[in-house]
């Protein structure tokens, strides 16, 4: 008997993505990530299991969800606002609170899909991929935290001639992915802080494993497939020191492409929806001029730059 196809939690699938690799792409967002970057615009991607998001602005405070919750995980707090106790919430299969809410104020991020189901969902766009030189981009979260799933998925895509690219934070176990990682058509490899202390402070983890993985990757695959992705966070990653280290790193690894992602706060609202605090300071901003300066600096070091963002 055939093994059951592996499955995992996916929290979003986006079609007609134009900033996540060449051509028209569908981006698959995996759940689970080992980093906790403060500026993360997809906080619902971080935990490895489904989570409840509750929108204060859509909520009419009718309390229907309180009535239907079997675990008393939802209550009114002293300010008459709804409070979700996520320790008690068991993410019921039939999602009674989501179904009961008439205002679309509650949603669950994370749906379990097996490889075949996921493939069918994205394969409908194969003509758009082939006409545009596009394909699928795995993102997240950290797709490589699900090596068995990704291995099976990429195999299936290869069978049908679909291009698959990867966006990775670099924090994964090399041994689990080394057998298939060369099958990606391109890899956006995130580099945040090259200083280990700063890395710990702002991403929650040392950058040691990330840099080791990059080194292994640069020897295992053609380095033209690797594009270093840098979220430009003023005062944190977009500093002269960090960028000089980045240039050195690119030279060492023989990597010549960098993707710049200027800081934005678009994901801020989702922290509140998850009952979490947004830790970035208000007023952190990066201007077009600063981004252009950085681009110029990198290009003068023979590094090709792509800028994505609004």
């Amino acid at each position: 008997m055939q093994d059951k196809a592996p499955s995992t939690f996916i929290f979003d699938i986006e079609d007609f993505a134009t900033q996540d690799g060449p051509g028209i792409r569908t981006v698959i967002f995996f759940k689970g990530c080992s980093l906790r970057c403060r500026w993360c615009s997809n906080p619902e991607s971080q935990k490895n299991f489904p989570e409840i998001l509750h929108s204060e602005s859509l909520c009419k405070k009718c309390g229907t969800c309180i009535e239907v919750c079997p675990y008393e995980a939802v209550t009114f707090n002293e300010n008459k606002a709804l409070s979700f106790n996520r320790d008690f919430c068991l993410i019921c299969k039939d999602k009674p609170c989501v179904t009961a809410c008439n205002n679309d104020a509650i949603r669950i991020a994370g749906k379990k899909l097996d490889v075949d189901e996921l493939f069918d969902k994205v394969n409908v766009n194969s003509q758009y991929f082939s006409n545009s030189g596009g394909g699928i981009t795995l993102s997240g979260g950290e797709p490589l935290l699900h090596p068995d799933f990704v291995r099976a998925f990429i195999n299936k895509c290869t069978q049908f001639g679909l291009s698959v690219g990867l966006e990775t934070c670099g924090y994964f176990k090399w041994d689990q992915v080394k057998d298939f990682i060369e099958n990606f058509d391109f890899i956006f490899f995130d580099i945040k802080c090259l200083d280990e202390k700063l890395s710990k402070k702002y991403t929650g983890q040392s950058n040691r494993i990330i840099l080791q993985n990059l080194e292994k990757l640069a020897t295992a695959v053609d380095t033209s497939k690797i594009i270093i992705s840098v979220a430009l966070i003023p005062g944190i990653t977009a500093t002269e020191k960090n960028l000089s280290s980045l240039i050195l790193l690119c030279k060492e690894m023989n990597i010549s492409s960098v993707r710049l992602l200027p800081y934005h706060t678009l994901g801020k609202g989702k922290y509140a929806e998850l009952g979490r605090e947004y830790l970035m300071d208000d007023g952190v901003k990066i201007t077009d001029g600063e981004v252009r300066e950085i681009q110029k600096c990198l290009e003068s070091n023979s590094i090709t730059c792509i800028i994505e963002g609004l």
Binding site: E14, F16, S41, V124, L310
Partner: protein, 831 residues
């Protein structure tokens, strides 16, 4: 149709390339809209003194007399001349078509019932009109036009004269007394099943045969006409009508030449006193050109532009047109262009200046109609210039001139003409990239049309040879294809409100809002009965509507037949028959337009799910919930909202669309038009989705009473497409677009989604792939900061706007205000 009231530009930002165009465009932007009675006053004078003439001759004489005596106006900066009225933004009150709305407006009486649920814009020129009126010399006519006190008196006289004689009155006397479904039609207007009668501007939707007119010159056409008259002996009614038609046609062509000569003389007069040498030479050139064309074939590109404009404008003056279009301009003007370029007598810069000037000239034309039609059409004239496509041998037809036309639209941003592209895979990359560059200015065009689909449609409908269809496929009106220079003007009855048809179906023929009963039917108790009942009412509403319009067209032939235009549409001249006598090659063009199908599809999907499959409630309970506008039925409302919806690539809903679409096309084609040809189905919405929504109660799809219907033809209802833009296209690709003439699919993007040349290429791939799956039309709104601010104010109209940044995606209207502001700021900076 694209509205482009926003002139802020995005990735591409252009400016008029010369001082002349700048002067013209600025003048247009600073002028109010005015009623000009001159043409109608002259027309009426001629009508009063031409009793006893044959109806063709009388119609021709009135138009010709008026045209010959119009004041020629040449304005600063103009490099070729010809104006529809004496005012920069003037409109002719065509009382010969319909006079009731003019009289009602003058008497400040209540407009037709429909005015109550139609809104017109209030910005721009409209605001200006009201301001100027407050200064005292003018008053406001209707909502947006100014009329001087003296002209108002004249207008009243004219309007009173035409009372009882205009097309609308002649038609009303006819159908109201003889048509057995007359009462149904009038109820239909009261209930908002139909749009208001379209008599004030019933025609357009066709393209003149510019190719022949330019190549021959009017002198040769007149020669031919005279020869035909001589060769034809009158022996019977038919031969007599032929000769009358030729005589009438001859009169209009002569008058057009005379009108051109008036411009020539005016230019000479102005040149005499002109101090600036450069301007003096320009005026002398105009004088020379208007003496030569349109009588003779133009000798160079500049002259061809002058000739085109006069030929086009004379037709525009003759009829109360909407959708009257210049067609395949880049094809028939190309020989003049390339000859000058090759012999070095002109440059692309000079050509560009003329093309930019043409944009201003076409935008200056205004039309006035009854209040509700102005609201429905958003005051747009729908002059559609279509580029690209194929030649008769199937090779790509885009050329250097096509690119210059696109560049002129980038440089000189005006609302008219709207640009379209006949898409074929073979079009050059350079041309397509230029088209996307134009899209990125945010003007909302060019729109892309799948030529392959129209060819299949026309091969089935008119059975014309393939080579002919390739060469002359054009666009007449906002999204309706037509065969250039050989088609009867699509005179449309107006729109059918699908959501109202559904209300009738649900309630056994009774409209719950007005309590009017249409055709009685069984009150449906289950899904299948509802579908059956819907089809019954749909068929009736279409049939009655089309039959009614044939009565109006009979009156049209007697009162407002287009004589000048007939002379320039193949094969009217050769056959000796006017457009209204089936003189054109293609006569099956009239369309029945409809709006609101998506809400019906979603409603049926909802009934199928809740009543049939899940058995949550009975039809009576559903009717009750709808009557109470979902009040105290929040749970049920949510279930209705959660039922499958069109636009998610879900066959549960999409299959219903396919079925209803096929029925609709079948019912439309069952009926014959006034010329005895099957009506050709079309679907578009222009601005009907708002007023049509307003008159309908709650619908089973979860829509509340009065809420706007889904926009366009295949666009999902606001916020119900949850699976992304490609899923919507997969749904839209399921219907057989070859069955209809026209269709519309609007997509909105933030500039960042389409950034750079890579972004342009991605958009081209999107168009190609959608068209590979047999989609018909795509148009794009690249939003700018002004639109985003509008979205903050009116989130319902922007539910589909996705914010996509690498690795992040959200609906704009769902983001917090501060984040929205950040996006607005970023869009202004546009990295």
């Amino acid at each position: 149709m694209s509205s482009c009231s926003h002139y802020d530009t995005r990735e591409t930002k252009g400016a008029p390339s010369t001082e002349n165009v700048k002067i013209m465009r600025n003048r247009y932007l600073s002028e109010p809209m005015k009623v000009d009675v001159e043409y109608m006053q002259l027309y009426t004078k001629a009508h009063k003194t031409s009793d006893g003439l044959n109806s063709f001759e009388r119609r021709a004489h009135c138009h010709a007399y008026a045209l010959e005596n119009l004041t020629p106006v040449i304005r600063e900066g103009e490099l070729f001349s010809g104006n529809k009225t004496r005012f920069v933004r003037g409109a002719i009150p065509y009382a010969n078509y319909a006079t009731n709305y003019i009289l009602r407006t003058l008497n400040k009486e209540e407009q037709e019932t429909q005015a109550k649920f139609t809104e017109i814009g209030t910005g721009g020129g409209i605001e200006k009109s009201q301001k100027i009126a407050s200064e005292g010399k003018h008053e406001v006519f209707g909502k947006k036009f100014l009329v001087s006190h003296e002209e108002k008196v004249i207008l009243k006289e004219i309007a009173e004269y035409w009372s009882g004689k205009c097309m609308q009155d002649v038609a009303d006397r006819f159908w109201k007394n003889t048509f057995d479904k007359a009462e149904y039609i009038e109820k239909g207007w009261k209930a908002g099943l139909y749009t208001a009668p379209h008599d004030p501007a019933p025609e357009g939707r066709y393209v003149l045969d510019f190719e022949t007119a330019l190549a021959e010159g009017f002198d040769n056409i007149i020669k031919k006409t005279k020869r035909l008259i001589k060769q034809t002996e009158v022996t019977d009614y038919e031969s007599a009508e032929k000769v009358y038609f030729w005589k009438a046609g001859h009169r209009t062509l002569e008058a057009t030449i005379k009108w051109a000569h008036n411009y020539s003389e005016e230019a000479l007069r102005l040149a005499k006193t002109e101090k600036n040498d450069k301007r003096k030479n320009e005026l002398l050139k105009i004088a020379e050109m208007c003496k030569y064309v349109p009588a003779k074939s133009p000798r160079n590109f500049h002259e061809a532009m002058q000739a085109f404009w006069l030929i086009y404008l004379a037709g525009h003056i003759e009829g109360a047109h909407l959708g009257y279009s210049p067609g395949r301009f880049d094809r028939y003007m190309y020989p003049f262009y390339i000859r000058d370029i090759e012999n070095g007598t002109t440059t692309n810069a000079k050509v560009l200046e003329l093309l930019e000037a043409l944009r201003v000239k076409m935008t200056e034309i205004e039309y006035m109609a009854s209040f509700s039609w102005e609201g429905l059409g958003s005051g747009n004239l729908y002059q559609n210039m279509i580029l690209g496509g194929l030649d008769e041998n199937g090779h790509r037809a885009d050329n250097e001139l096509s690119q210059l036309v696109l560049q002129s639209a980038i440089n000189c941003q005006t609302t008219q003409p709207t640009l379209s592209i006949w898409y074929d895979d073979s079009l050059s990359n350079k041309f397509l990239l230029k088209a996307i560059e134009c899209v990125k200015t945010g003007v909302g065009f060019p729109a892309f049309f799948n030529l392959k689909i129209y060819i299949q449609h026309e091969l089935q409908k008119s059975k014309l040879p393939l080579s002919l269809i390739r060469k002359y496929a054009a666009m007449g009106g906002c999204t309706e294809p037509t065969m250039e220079g050989m088609s009867y003007g699509v005179v449309q009855a107006g729109f059918i409100n699908h959501a109202k048809v559904l209300e009738l179906a649900l309630n056994g023929g009774l409209d719950p809002q007005t309590e009017l009963t249409f055709e009685k039917s069984e009150i449906p108790q289950n899904y299948d009965e509802l579908v059956k009942s819907y089809k019954f009412h749909l068929r009736n509403s279409i049939k009655n509507w089309q039959r009614y319009w044939n009565y109006v067209m009979a009156a049209h032939r007697d009162t407002c037949n287009l004589i000048y235009s007939s002379m320039l549409v193949r094969d009217c001249l050769d056959r000796g028959k006017s457009l209204d006598d089936k003189g054109a090659v293609v006569n099956g063009s009239p369309t029945t337009l409809s709006s609101g199908m998506v809400n019906v599809v979603n409603s049926l999907a909802s009934v199928k799910k809740l009543v049939r499959d899940d058995k949550k409630l009975s039809m009576d309970e559903l009717r009750k919930a709808l009557a109470e506008n979902w009040e105290r039925k929040e749970d049920l409302h949510k279930e209705a909202m959660d039922a499958p919806k069109w636009g998610n690539n879900d066959d549960y809903a999409d299959a219903i669309y396919e079925e209803l679409f096929d029925s609709y096309c079948g019912y439309v084609s069952e009926q014959l038009n006034y010329l005895g040809e099957p009506y050709d189905p079309s679907m578009l919405a222009i601005s009907t989705h708002a007023p049509f929504g307003k008159v309908c109660g709650a619908t089973p799809d979860g829509r509340y009473a009065g809420e706007t219907l889904a926009d366009g033809v295949t666009s999902p209802f606001y916020g119900t497409d949850k699976n992304g833009p490609l899923a919507v296209l997969h749904s839209a690709g399921k219907i057989d677009h070859t069955k209809i003439r026209g269709g519309l699919h609007n997509m909105k993007f933030l500039p960042s989604t389409l950034k750079g040349i890579q972004g342009s290429k991605k958009l081209i791939s999107l168009i190609k792939t959608y068209f590979d799956t047999l989609g018909f039309q795509l148009q794009f709104n690249v939003v700018d900061s002004a639109m985003l601010k509008d979205a903050q104010e009116n989130p319902d109209q922007y539910r589909d706007l996705i914010v996509r940044v690498a690795g992040f995606s959200a609906f704009f209207v769902e983001l917090g205000k501060s984040i929205q502001n950040e996006i607005i700021n970023r869009t202004e900076q546009n990295l």
